[in-house]
């Protein structure tokens, strides 16, 4: 068992972090900032030092940001042993031991699991191995796609109209490439923002010349004799001639390696309590093992403690800080994780930002600005309370909405803002029925 020597420097303690990306790095920094004097080991299966993912679907693809400039700034000297290019393959909770892909074993006193997510791959039998089909999750993905796009290919097809798909569509138009965006739902960003806001994005994309195919899916990709992608068959029976396809169908949580560990981990993520301590399959707290970032599923106070995984940058940073703090505290001093999710995305020259949990909203209402000009704020309501807000080029107001969400302010909101639209109307947010039970 780890010795919770409260304020001591814990010189003899060994903390291991699995996952050498945003959450892992920020946690290590937080440990040192709190004067942890023991040993830190960071295990990551990528060969690179931690780097930033958001630019991978934005400025890296346009060519504005060279891939060498994506490493994350090290805010603190973490004095860690880095084991990179090596995956953790199993966890023995009893023995407090990890098995690694290089055959070694690693003992820990405390463990932080920050293995994040990966892109959902396209099935091989439907063309996933063809030259010209890309995923975007890591540096190499983005670098290779950048090189391909720079060679001015013919039409690009994007499967999936989530944030990453929309951002890549925007990049393609910026590079003056023909692009087809295929989305299963009625609008882009259907799952993230609902069809009401999504229809605004649809209009934006069409104005920018995106060939948008909603309520449609890709059946298969087909290649030539040399294995080069040349067309896609869509569910509406149409065939699109393409040179490049980008598969952006969401993410899978990296929890397979935890099978057999007894932890409550599955494809939806790794479950933890409000203190970021992981739970076992029986729902019992596992001492000394914490989690943070995209992989973590935690009880969200904004929606009655439902377990959710928040796959945004800000959550990885905040939860890493929370987990690190609790790792070094006596249980009586644990801090609960009360994060209000927030994210941003830039596409077609518009900065979209959101706070709260849009996809838990039933209704949505534009409260400020002008939809016409793509410069507005909209609030989401759930059971008479504001649960989220999204802004298009109006991020300056979100702080105030954040406070309203925290306070549980009523919906529809009584803002009377100076720039409120003339006829404000609440409308159904328009989410897939399933999203609310995710």
């Amino acid at each position: 068992m780890s010795n919770h020597s409260s304020q001591g420097l814990r010189k003899d303690e060994h903390i291991v972090i699995v996952g050498a990306s945003l959450a892992g790095l920020r946690a290590a920094e937080a440990l040192r900032r709190r004067d942890f004097a023991g040993q830190i080991t960071i295990v990551g299966d990528e060969k690179y030092a931690p780097y930033d993912r958001p630019p991978l679907s934005k400025h890296v693809l346009t060519g504005h940001l060279p891939i060498e400039h994506t490493p994350l700034a090290m805010l603190e000297d973490v004095r860690a042993t880095w084991i990179l290019g090596v995956a953790a393959t199993a966890l023995d909770v009893e023995q407090r031991q990890l098995s690694l892909s290089n055959g070694e074993r690693l003992h820990f006193d405390q463990l932080l699991i920050a293995t994040g997510t990966r892109a959902r791959p396209w099935p091989e039998e439907r063309g996933g191995k063809l030259d010209g089909v890309f995923l975007i999750r890591d540096r190499d993905d983005s670098q290779q796609l950048r090189e391909r796009l720079a060679r001015k290919p013919g039409r690009v097809l994007i499967a999936g109209g989530g944030f990453i798909g929309c951002e890549v569509a925007s990049v393609c138009r910026e590079l003056d490439l023909e692009v087809t965006l295929v989305e299963r739902g009625p609008t882009p960003l259907y799952g993230a923002l609902g069809s009401s806001m999504g229809s605004i994005v649809a209009r934006l994309q069409q104005q920018h010349g995106v060939d948008l195919r909603t309520r449609t899916t890709v059946e298969s990709f087909e290649g030539d004799a040399a294995g080069r992608l040349c067309r896609a068959r869509l569910s509406d029976g149409s065939v699109v001639e393409i040179d490049v396809a980008i598969v952006a169908l969401g993410a899978l949580h990296n929890t397979e390696w935890l099978q057999g560990s007894g932890l409550a981990a599955d494809e939806r993520g790794l479950v933890c309590d409000t203190y970021s301590r992981v739970l076992d399959a029986q729902g019992q707290v596992v001492e000394g093992i914490f989690t943070a970032g995209d992989v973590a599923r935690w009880p969200q106070h904004l929606c009655d403690g439902d377990l959710i995984a928040v796959e945004h940058w800000g959550n990885a940073v905040d939860q890493a800080e929370n987990a690190a703090g609790n790792m070094l505290s006596a249980e009586t001093d644990y801090r609960a994780y009360k994060h209000i999710p927030a994210f941003w995305s830039s596409q077609f020259g518009i900065n979209i930002k959101a706070v709260g949990l849009p996809n838990r909203g039933d209704e949505v209402m534009v409260t400020q600005g002008s939809v016409e000009r793509y410069r507005f704020v909209a609030a989401y309501g759930r059971q008479g309370r504001i649960i989220a807000a999204v802004s298009f080029d109006q991020g300056r107001w979100l702080e105030a909405y954040n406070t309203l969400i925290e306070e549980g302010a009523t919906y529809p909101p009584q803002l009377a803002a100076a720039d409120q639209p003339e006829n404000m109307q609440s409308q159904p947010a328009g989410f897939p029925a399933m999203a609310r039970h995710a």
């Binding site: 704020v377 009377a416 100076a418």
Partner: protein, 420 residues
């Protein structure tokens, strides 16, 4: 619970506090949001001031406040009565409020056009002019004796600078000096004007607007590399500036940067002459002026409070500010909040992480901040460097009767001569 506190805002307006209002602010902060007798709300703590400045439920448009609505109603009645009695009544001139008194979206459009023209290069290009102006004013006192930092340096500087930026011909500048003072009081929410003063303001306003109208005509025919020509030509997806908007914006740029910059230079001189050690440090380390000016904007700022109107009921710090109420945001008190700033009552010239409220915060954050900084860096830098054995002739100096835009009326300084 709303508590009517013993904290009375009128105390700030009381001239006896003007030389040092900060102890009063410390009392204010014990009640972060305090209802006043006249129904307005005084906000004095850093977090509350900042949070309101970023809240979409507050307005800078005075036409939306209950008090202003009442006032307008009364004025209208008075006019109607006078007309009924057969008196000659002047129709009030319809003035487009400057964007400091407007809300989004129109505020944003006008501000975007200004910032697109008030570029870092334009500001940077002014610095050699500013050096020149400061030098000319100081050189008049080469033999030493007494200089009034206000009249002999701080007052003329910002008007000359803004005129050059706007594109006002040199020979017309003198008129601007005459208009600037009465007009600047328009920005002051705490000020009650006598009828005579109101007349002066109206007259200065009318004259300046007339002048600007003519100047714009000239610049339209012959555009130059200046702010006015740039703003006239600037496009915005929400529409270009109308001639009236151009005029009200030009007037705003003149007055918003006038008394404020004067006070910054004067307060900065006062503080360094009160502390020989500080003066010596500034001489030894000219780079220190940069953080020193930021600290001045926190410690003894030119703008002490601004007002807003609540557009909806706002819950804050355990109080509900009702819709229509006037909100008084005491920026200078927020900047002295010990919860936010360590050793908040001390002037620390190299303070780091100094997020003061000297230029406000949020969507009305001072447009002229980069220019004001350059002016203050140069003026204060030269004062500290050049004056030989400067001594305050009067301490405290006499203050202008103005609690919002607070600063000395005169700052006489005795000195032995000038370094070159």
């Amino acid at each position: 619970m709303t508590q009517k506190s013993k904290i009375d805002f009128k105390q700030i307006l009381d001239h006896s506090h003007i030389a040092n209002p900060y102890p009063l602010y410390a009392q204010f902060r014990e009640t972060p949001v305090a209802l006043q007798e006249d129904g307005s709300y005084l906000v004095s703590t850093y977090n509350e001031v900042v949070s309101l400045l970023h809240d979409p439920r507050i307005s800078s448009d005075m036409r939306k406040s209950d008090a202003q609505k009442r006032f307008m109603q009364q004025a209208k009645q008075k006019r109607e009565e006078m007309i009924a009695q057969g008196q000659q009544v002047e129709e009030p001139e319809e003035i487009v409020p400057a964007f400091i008194f407007q809300d989004p979206p129109n505020h944003d459009r006008l501000r975007r056009i200004v910032t697109s023209q008030l570029t870092p290069e334009r500001v940077e290009n002014m610095s050699s002019h500013i050096e020149q102006i400061v030098k000319e004013h100081l050189d008049k006192h080469a033999q030493g004796g007494q200089i009034d930092i206000v009249d002999d340096l701080a007052y003329p500087l910002p008007v000359t600078v803004i005129c050059q930026l706007l594109g006002v011909p040199r020979e017309d500048e003198a008129q601007f000096h005459a208009w600037a003072e009465p007009l600047a009081s328009v920005l002051d929410p705490g000020q009650v004007q006598t009828e005579e003063q109101q007349k002066q303001i109206m007259q200065a306003g009318r004259q300046m607007r007339e002048y600007m109208g003519q100047l714009l005509q000239k610049l339209k025919a012959q555009p130059g590399d200046n702010l006015l020509s740039g703003m006239m030509a600037a496009d915005d997806i929400d529409g270009a500036m109308s001639p009236r908007e151009l005029i009200s914006t030009a007037v705003l740029l003149l007055i918003a940067g006038h008394e404020t910059t004067v006070n910054l230079i004067t307060n900065g001189t006062l503080a360094m002459l009160r502390s020989p050690e500080l003066l010596e440090r500034l001489r030894q380390d000219p780079e220190l002026i940069i953080t020193y000016v930021e600290e001045l904007l926190r410690y003894d700022p030119p703008v002490h409070f601004r007002t807003r109107t609540a557009l909806a009921d706002i819950q804050i710090a355990g109080t509900t500010i009702p819709q229509g109420a006037t909100i008084i945001l005491v920026l200078a008190s927020g900047s002295h909040d010990g919860q936010r700033f360590e050793r908040s009552e001390e002037l620390i010239p190299d303070r780091q992480g100094n997020e003061h409220l000297g230029f406000g915060s949020g969507l009305h954050y001072c447009v002229g901040a980069p220019l004001a900084r350059v002016e203050a860096h140069i003026a204060l830098g030269e004062i500290s460097r050049r004056l030989i054995e400067p001594k305050l002739a009067l301490d405290p100096p006499p203050y202008r009767d103005n609690a919002a835009l607070r600063g000395p009326r005169h700052l006489p300084v005795n000195f032995k001569g000038l370094r070159s």
